[in-house]
Symmetry: C2
């Protein structure tokens, strides 16, 4: 078993934090996106979408998509549960993780891909207007998060979950995307302070 | 328990097909997106993202995000399993469902939102260049699907799953988005014929 990734990229970091929280060790193999190794035939045979990370199981099965990799380890190493506990709780974790993915991480990534000079060659066409539209939407997502965190310690309620991992990675990815965190969101501040001092937060940094 | 939705919209249809495959009946309540009822305060208190469908549980808990709603019913009504069977299979279903979401459904929806005249008032800014860039990527996703379906009956392998539901809804949503299905993708054709004649395919049409 191994994970092919590029360390410090946001999606590989989600998997690294998840593994750290579970106490699981998996060997990593690095590729370089800057050298377009994610578009080389030997990588595309593992993942035709050309994205990292990819988990290669001992039987050769290639699992891509960060959340699918996390789900594999949730099934094989159920403790601590990071996808929820009962039907209602699992649905809430799925909902909040997706809200953080679509409402926050994807928008931050769109700002990065469509406005950062280093991405001009990889994101074709790079559309600045679309990047800027997403910058405004990141602000709305952070306001929503702050509201959720007014009444609960974690993104999905009383327990730390994969939704906190996605949200932490998204907030940290705001820095290279050159998006400032608004100073007035005090619940978000409190949560960010707690999340970023967990030992797992160092994973993939 | 009830589901608030707008029937015939793509995401509500995913949930309706899922329920039909499970043999579950839930009462539906309609809102009209054209009248911006999804942005009214009484709806936003259920889902601050302003999206349908939303499942309201008997205790008042609001579950939004189509896949989170499906996961709730997978947990409460496990047969037939539509999210996979063992750890490896569940990871593959999660992977393929996400590939169909990000690689196909989201791209078709982007073409619709950013190029269809009826969306000009709801999608601000509507960026035609971004819509057109996604039109090209839909073609690449369909080629990838056709390749996957060369060696297996369903999107995630030997069993029908939520990945087939997402893919069917995405392919059907190509019509209002004015994207033609390429005639040369024979594996996709075979799969589409099988999926669209299952009784569940009528749900949400």
């Amino acid at each position: 078993m191994k994970i092919i990734e590029q360390s410090r990229a946001p999606n590989p970091r989600r998997v690294r934090i998840f593994l750290a929280e579970k106490g699981i060790t998996v060997p990593f193999e690095q590729i370089e996106i800057g050298k377009k190794q994610h578009r080389a035939p030997e990588f595309l045979k593992h993942n035709p979408m050309g994205q990292v990370p990819v988990l290669i199981l001992d039987d050769g099965t290639a699992i891509s998509e960060s959340v699918a990799i996390c789900r594999y380890f949730e099934e094989t190493n159920p403790t601590p549960p990071l996808f929820g506990r009962d039907a209602r709780d699992k649905a809430i974790v799925e909902m909040m993780n997706r809200r953080m993915e679509h409402g926050l991480l994807a928008r931050v990534a769109t700002v990065f891909r469509h406005t950062h000079p280093s991405m001009a060659e990889l994101e074709v066409p790079q559309i600045k207007e679309w990047g800027d539209a997403n910058r405004a939407r990141v602000g709305a997502a952070l306001e929503m998060m702050d509201g959720e965190l007014a009444t609960k310690p974690f993104m999905a309620g009383e327990n730390y979950s994969i939704a906190d991992i996605t949200a932490l990675v998204a907030v940290d990815f705001m820095r290279p995307s050159r998006i400032e965190r608004p100073a007035h969101l005090k619940n978000l501040d409190r949560w960010y302070g707690q999340m970023s001092t967990r030992p797992s937060a160092k994973a993939g940094m």
